[in-house]
C-alpha cells in the first residue's frame, strides 16, 4: 500500500468532538454520510478539501475526549488512511487500531507544513517531506499492530484468522 499524499495540518488537543460532532454521530448511521461532516467544528469545508490518500498531521494529544469509535472511522472513510501526531489520547489510539486507521507518533510534526506532499516509509520509520525535501522520523509501528491495521482493523483480522491473537509477533 502506497502512503503518499498531501498534508492537512491541525494543532494540539483535537478532540473527538472536533473530528465528528455529537449532533451527527448519534443520528447519522451511515459511516460514509457521517464522514462528510468531518472536522466541521474547526473547518466546515474540510471534507471538500480532502483527496483520497491525504494525511492529517497534528500536535499533541490528538483524539482526546469521548470514546466514540466513529471519530477514527470518519477519518478513514473520508479517504485519509493515516494520522501523524506528537501524541494520541488513549481511547482514540485503541479505537484507531481496531477500525484500521494508521497512527504514527513523531515529536517533529511542527516541521511539516500544511499542504506539503509527504510519503511514508514504514520499514525505515521515516516520513519523506517531498515539498521540503526533508526526512522526519517517527516511532516504529509494532508489526502486529501494522498488520491488524492493514487488514482493515480488528474485526477483519478476527474474521480472517478465526480468532483474536494477542500481541505475539511470532504468530503474525
Amino acid at each position: 500500500m502506497e502512503l503518499k499524499g498531501k498534508v492537512h495540518k491541525f494543532g494540539d488537543n483535537i478532540s473527538t468532538d472536533d473530528i465528528i460532532a455529537g449532533k451527527y454521530k448519534n443520528r447519522i448511521l451511515s459511516p460514509d454520510e457521517l464522514a462528510t461532516h468531518i472536522m466541521e467544528n474547526i473547518d466546515p469545508k474540510f471534507y471538500s478539501k480532502i483527496k483520497k490518500g491525504d494525511f492529517i498531521v497534528a500536535g499533541k494529544n490528538f483524539g482526546l475526549g469521548s470514546s466514540r469509535e466513529t471519530a477514527p472511522l470518519v477519518i478513514l472513510k473520508s479517504g485519509i488512511p493515516c494520522v501523524i501526531a506528537k501524541s494520541f489520547a488513549r481511547i482514540f489510539y485503541r479505537n484507531s487500531i481496531n477500525i484500521g486507521l494508521l497512527l504514527l507518533i513523531s515529536p517533529n510534526t511542527d516541521y511539516i507544513k500544511n499542504g506539503d506532499e509527504i510519503e511514508i516509509d514504514i520499514e525505515r520509520s521515516m516520513i519523506k517531506d517531498i515539498t521540503q525535501n526533508k526526512d522526519i522520523a517517527f516511532d516504529p509501528v509494532p508489526k502486529f499492530m501494522f498488520k491488524v491495521i492493514m487488514e482493515g482493523g480488528l474485526v477483519h483480522h478476527f474474521k480472517t484468522h478465526g480468532g483474536f491473537f494477542f500481541g505475539n509477533e511470532e504468530e503474525v
Binding site: D17, K23, R27, S67, E69, S87, A89
Partner: protein
C-alpha cells in the same frame, strides 16, 4: 516492590504480577454500553459471529444519550437495544432511568476491587468506589463481551493527596477543574490517578464521583480512590455482595505525587473551548451568559441539586436566561421531589427535564443559538460540544451555575452562601 491500586487490581484480574508498563489480558467483572455508540457494540459482536455474552447479567445496557429519542434513526437504535436485551437476557435501563454512570454506581453495579469497562469515556467515574473502570470504543467492548476478557496496558500512577477541607462555596468540581488546569488535557495520558489523603473525609460520596468522572479530561485511564468508611457505607447500602478493598502498598511506585491543600481553593471555571482552560472565577466574573445546565454524570446528583436549590430558594432566574436542571437518575429525581427541591427550581423559573445526559453532548435538547454562551456543570466544553460551533461553553460547579442563573452573568456562588 509495592503496588499501586491499579497494579493490584490488574494483577488480581490477570493472574499475573502486573507492573506499570506491562500489557496484561484480564478478566472483566462487568461491561456497560449506552445508546450513543455507532455502531453499538452488540452489532459488532453479532458481525463477529457472536453466540453468547460472557455473562449476560454483567453486560448492562442503558439508554441515556438521546432519551427520549429526537429522531427516527436514534429511535431505531433504541428499539434494537431493547430487542438485543430481550433476546440475550441482558439488563436494560430504558429512557428516563438516568445517566449510565449514575445508574452503575447507584444500583450496586460497580463495587470495590472490580474491573469494569464501558463504551463511554467517563466510565472512569466508578473509580471513586475503589475499582478499576475505564472507557473503550465499540469494537473493544464487542470483543470483551464475547470473551469476558480484554487487554490492558498497566498504567503508571500519579498520586493526588488531598489535605485540608474545601472552604464554603467551593466544591469538588472546583477541585477537579483546578487539577485539569494544573496537569493539562494530556497530563495523565495513559496513566492512573490515585486519590487519597485526609481531605477526602470532607468530601461525600456524591461529590467524589465528580472528581473521578473528570480523570479522563487529563487523559487518565482511571481515577481511583483509596477506600474509607464513607465509601464502605455507601456501597453497603447498595449491595449485599461481599467485596474486597484495595489499598496501595506503602512502597508503591508513583510517577509523581501532587499535594493539594483544599482550604486554599476557590471557585474555578473552565473557559471555552478546552477543559484545561481552568481559571479562578475572578478572571471571568461578569461574563454574560444565556443558558445554564445543572446535571450530567459529573454533577447531577442530590448534593448538587441541594446546593443549587439553596441558592435559588429566595431568588429568581434572570429574565430570558434558560436554566435547565436534570437529575442524573430517577432515584435522584424522586428524592429531590421529596425534599421539595423540584418545587424550588420551578418556582425560581428553572426547568426540569427527564433523567439522562440532557444537553451535555448536543444530542437532542438545549442547543444554544449562534453567539450564545452556556455555563454547564458537565465535563466538556469543546467547540460545538453542545450542538452549535458558534456558541461557547463554560464549565463550573452547580453552585456557580445557580448563582450565574440569578444574575445572568458569571457570579461567585459565595455571594449567596454567606451564612
Amino acid at each position: 516492590m509495592g503496588k499501586t491500586i491499579s497494579e493490584k487490581i490488574l494483577s488480581n484480574k490477570s493472574g499475573t504480577d502486573a507492573k506499570a508498563g506491562q500489557i496484561v489480558l484480564a478478566k472483566i467483572d462487568r461491561a456497560m454500553s449506552h445508546d450513543g455508540n455507532r455502531p453499538i457494540p452488540l452489532d459488532i459482536w453479532k458481525d463477529l459471529g457472536g453466540k453468547k455474552i460472557f455473562d449476560p447479567k454483567n453486560y448492562i445496557l442503558i439508554i441515556d444519550h438521546s432519551a427520549p429519542s429526537p429522531v427516527e434513526s436514534i429511535s431505531n437504535v433504541h428499539k434494537k437495544m431493547r430487542q438485543y436485551a430481550k433476546q440475550l437476557n441482558l439488563k436494560l435501563f430504558d429512557v428516563g432511568e438516568g445517566v449510565c454512570h449514575q445508574i452503575m454506581v447507584e444500583k450496586g453495579l460497580a463495587l470495590p476491587g472490580e474491573l469494569i469497562i464501558g463504551s463511554d469515556s467517563h466510565t472512569c467515574t466508578y473509580g471513586a468506589l475503589n475499582l478499576f473502570a475505564t472507557g473503550m470504543g465499540s469494537t473493544d467492548i464487542a470483543m470483551a463481551i464475547a470473551e469476558g476478557k480484554q487487554w490492558f496496558r498497566v498504567p503508571e500512577t500519579i498520586r493526588i493527596i488531598l489535605n485540608g477541607e474545601l472552604p464554603k462555596g467551593v466544591f469538588s468540581k472546583d477541585l477537579i477543574l483546578y487539577l485539569v488546569g494544573k496537569l493539562g488535557a494530556d497530563g495523565a495520558n495513559y496513566m492512573a490517578l490515585e486519590f487519597s489523603g485526609e481531605g477526602l473525609k470532607s468530601i461525600d460520596m456524591e461529590e467524589r464521583f465528580t472528581i473521578t468522572n473528570m480523570a479522563v479530561e487529563m487523559g487518565a485511564k482511571v481515577g481511583i480512590m483509596e477506600p474509607d468508611e464513607i465509601m464502605i457505607k455507601w456501597v453497603k447500602e447498595r449491595t449485599k455482595k461481599i467485596f474486597e478493598l484495595i489499598y496501595p502498598d506503602p512502597d508503591a511506585k508513583y510517577l509523581e505525587t501532587v499535594i493539594v491543600d483544599l482550604s486554599k481553593l476557590s471557585p474555578y471555571i473552565s473557559s471555552p473551548h478546552q477543559v484545561e482552560n481552568a481559571l479562578p472565577i475572578e478572571e471571568v466574573l461578569g461574563t454574560h451568559i444565556d443558558q445554564g445546565f445543572i446535571g450530567s454524570c459529573t454533577n447531577g446528583r442530590l448534593a448538587d441539586l441541594r446546593i443549587a436549590a439553596k441558592i435559588l430558594s429566595e431568588n429568581n432566574v434572570y429574565p430570558n436566561f434558560r436554566l435547565i436542571i436534570i437529575p442524573a437518575s430517577k432515584e435522584i429525581l424522586l428524592n429531590a421531589e421529596k425534599e421539595g427541591l423540584i418545587k424550588t427550581f420551578l418556582n425560581a423559573g428553572a426547568l426540569i427535564s427527564v433523567p439522562g445526559c440532557g444537553p451535555c453532548a448536543g444530542n437532542h435538547m438545549g442547543i444554544p443559538a449562534d453567539g450564545e454562551r452556556v455555563i454547564s456543570t458537565s465535563n466538556r466544553n469543546f467547540k460545538g460540544r453542545m450542538g452549535n460551533r458558534n456558541a461557547e461553553v463554560f464549565l463550573a460547579s452547580p453552585a456557580t451555575v445557580a448563582a450565574t442563573a440569578i444574575k445572568g452573568k458569571i457570579t461567585d456562588p459565595r455571594e449567596f452562601l454567606k451564612d
